[in-house]
């Protein structure tokens, strides 16, 4: 019998007791532990969620009345552009990188990511490009003000003629963000392909890993196209070239192709991990196996492949010939099929389950509810005649916020609450969580549901002022936006106070199946280190006679042995 006098993990770990003294400093250092990097990403992203939300509330403040009476229109244009840019590149992508960093190694039984130093470098690019982007508020002429699409020729007009201008800083920041994302993508794909636990074939991986793999492959394939377009735009802006400038014979619509070739898959990069989160959480909180695991897994790749051939649906009325519009309408319609497979699988997972409506489950249910609505308006937008009427109106704004906020952000909140005990070692306050959910659901619905009708009636997007007939929809929407602002208060309170003084979390508070739940809360420095369980089945076998790993009880007991 081997008597272990000291905990092996204690000896190996750089920071032996994660809740010990002087330990907060590791979040501000070049730390290569994916769990630390994950939290660095997440906290940074949440800060920018608040900033982006503030910008959004300023936008809605202007729009609560028809005339442009709160800001000068140029200021409004800068505000809405930065709202979109901050929300996408400073909140959403870092947040998803963070969740991926936290979850992928433990879920597949790896000690860390394949390239830990590259991982840390990818994170530290985020403060760099964030500062560059935010500095653009202070340069003469103000920040980029042509929308987050930055279409030429408007984006390269550079009225003040200065070398350092808002748009130039914007392109620089976005390019650095792309570099950071590509570093992350190389890391995630290598880790998933090469570092899975013994026995974990592709069809025994958690669905979150499937969706992350699908999403990161899209990043690898799509981002370089955007980088190419961004380089050409930068050259047009700063060096007087004519790729998109008509004075030299360039083609403005060419930029749109480069831009959307990435930016359409980008929305799937954002939504796929959230689909993964839904697939992970519904089985846990309904205590039922995921319905049709193999179909859900394959559907992730169906979405990936199809998403590469639909980008022109953002350009149905911009200057494309009719045959192109019809072709891309058909390809866009096809994406509804694998997406539908997932939605029906989730509902079937819930059917006959034994549901517990904890906060993570509430956000998942709310997210699914909103996604069904948002997905249907998406199918409407896919048909060319309808898109010609409602394209570039508030109908589109309402649709994409229903996906980005009412689905993706809901899923992100669900994931944060669900895995909070695992990675912080503390339980969060359930009551505050439910208040956060209620306020968020009401605020989000009030904010974006009415705007569908504003769009149908013909209110264009990105306007600082509008005809009076659209007023009622905008008043309701602005009230919803302010409610959303208030909703952030219980969330921040919960996160901070729970982490500081919440109840200590057991290794598996939700009695969930998964490799991460066989680790202590929080997991030690290298997760399972060199004692990795052998996986026997996929992690969804609630109520079935299919064990998850060999010697499961051994690992369960080990996870309770705290430092």
């Amino acid at each position: 019998m081997t008597i272990i006098n000291y905990d092996q993990r204690l000896v190996k770990s750089k920071n032996p007791y994660p809740r010990g003294p002087n330990d907060w400093k590791r979040f501000f250092s070049f730390n290569t532990d994916a769990k630390v990097i994950g939290i660095q990403y997440i906290v940074t992203a949440l800060f920018f969620l608040l900033l982006g939300g503030l910008l959004g509330m300023l936008v809605r403040g202007e729009l609560i009345t028809p005339p442009s009476d709160l800001f000068d229109p140029t200021v409004y244009n800068g505000l809405y552009t930065m709202h979109g840019t901050v929300m996408l590149f400073l909140f959403l992508f870092p947040m998803l990188s963070g969740l991926t960093n936290l979850l992928v190694p433990p879920m597949i039984g790896a000690p860390d990511m394949a390239f830990p130093k590259l991982n840390a470098l990818a994170f530290w690019l985020v403060p760099v490009f964030s500062i560059i982007l935010l500095l653009s508020f202070f340069v003469p002429g103000g920040p980029a003000s042509s929308g987050w699409w930055s279409y030429p020729p408007i984006s390269i007009q550079n009225p003040l003629g200065k070398m350092i201008n808002g748009e130039m800083l914007w392109i620089t920041a976005i390019s650095l963000s792309g570099i950071s994302s590509i570093m992350g993508a190389v890391n995630f794909v290598t880790t998933i392909i090469r570092m899975r636990a013994p026995g974990m074939g592709f069809f025994k991986m958690p669905i979150f890993i499937w969706t992350v793999l699908a999403a990161q492959l899209l990043q690898l394939l799509g981002l370089p196209a955007l980088t190419g377009g961004a380089i050409m735009l930068f050259f047009d802006l700063s060096f007087g070239t004519s790729f998109f400038r008509i004075e030299g014979g360039g083609d403005p619509v060419l930029f749109q192709h480069f831009f959307w070739f990435y930016s359409h898959p980008a929305v799937y990069v954002m939504v796929l991990p959230v689909f993964g989160i839904f697939s992970e959480l519904f089985p846990v909180y309904a205590r039922k196996p995921l319905f049709g695991y193999k179909f859900v897994a394959v559907a992730s790749f169906g979405i990936t492949i199809l998403s590469l051939v639909v980008w022109v649906h953002h350009m149905f009325y911009t200057g494309t010939p009719m045959w192109m519009r019809n072709l891309f309408m058909f390809t866009t319609m096809l994406i509804a099929v694998p997406t539908g497979v997932k939605v029906f699988a989730w509902i079937a997972t819930l059917w006959g389950g034994n549901l517990r409506l904890s906060t993570p489950m509430l956000f998942c249910l709310g997210g699914l509810f909103n996604f069904i609505f948002g997905g249907i308006t998406g199918v409407m937008l896919a048909t060319v005649p309808v898109d010609i009427h409602v394209g570039n109106t508030y109908f589109v704004v309402a649709h994409f916020h229903y996906i980005i906020f009412n689905t993706i952000a809901f899923g992100i909140f669900a994931g944060i609450y669900h895995w909070f005990p695992k990675f912080t070692g503390r339980m969060f306050y359930e009551g505050l969580g439910k208040v956060h959910f209620a306020l968020t659901f009401v605020g989000a619905t009030l904010n974006w549901l009415p705007l569908h009708w504003a769009g149908l009636l013909g209110m264009p997007r990105r306007v600082a002022s509008y005809d009076p007939e659209f007023a009622i929809w905008n008043v309701i929407a602005s009230i919803g936006a302010f409610i959303l602002g208030v909703a952030s208060i219980p969330f921040i309170l919960n996160m901070v106070s729970s982490w500081v003084r919440g109840k200590a979390a057991p290794p598996n508070p939700w009695r969930a199946i998964g490799l991460e739940w066989l680790l202590p809360s929080p997991p030690p420095h290298e997760n399972f280190e060199d004692d990795i369980p052998t996986v026997l089945n996929e992690p969804y076998c609630y109520g079935l006679d299919k064990p998850f790993v060999q010697d499961e009880q051994f690992y369960i007991d080990k996870s309770f042995k705290k430092h």
Binding site: I182, R194, L220, L221
Partner: protein, 198 residues
Amino acid sequence: MLSENKNPTINHNPGHVKHDGHNMTGFIIFLCSESIIFFAFFVGYGILKVTAPVWYPEGIDGIAVKEPLINTVILVSSSFVIYFAEKSLHKKNLWGFRSIWFITMLMGSYFVYGQYIEWSELSFSLQSGVFGGMFYLLTGFHGLHVITGILLMGLMLYRSFLPNNYQRGEMGVESVSLFWHFVDVIWIILFVLIYLWQ
């Protein structure tokens, strides 16, 4: 439960996860991504060439092919040379490796020099309409990659002098070699697109 009695390593494969074995996988994935940015530029070049109302700048109706062809031959041959350098390394012939590797660097440098000469003799600039912009963007971006390749080769050459560095060094040499082949293939496509399709 008798769990305290179990030796953690009995039923499992200990330490089978290598931290270092994935560099090549990661590098190949990175190269695939990098090739897409070139692909995007190629597509842009093609579309602009076919649809722009005015393609060549005023006074130009084509560019010389002879010197770039010579440069191409040198660059493509250097891919074969670097292959022999790799073979020498596998046979642990360090001085053979170093000399053939250095020849590759010289050939790459000649290519860069040739590109510079071509640029200085051209009568149009980056700002000369769509063709000017695309020409300098494509050749410049490619040239940057060639220079990066040469610098990386220099780094590998330096590391070949470090004692007991064979294992690590070999992986680095394989990666840089792959990068060099990649740079070559990109050039071949570029050459066909810009110089042959006129």
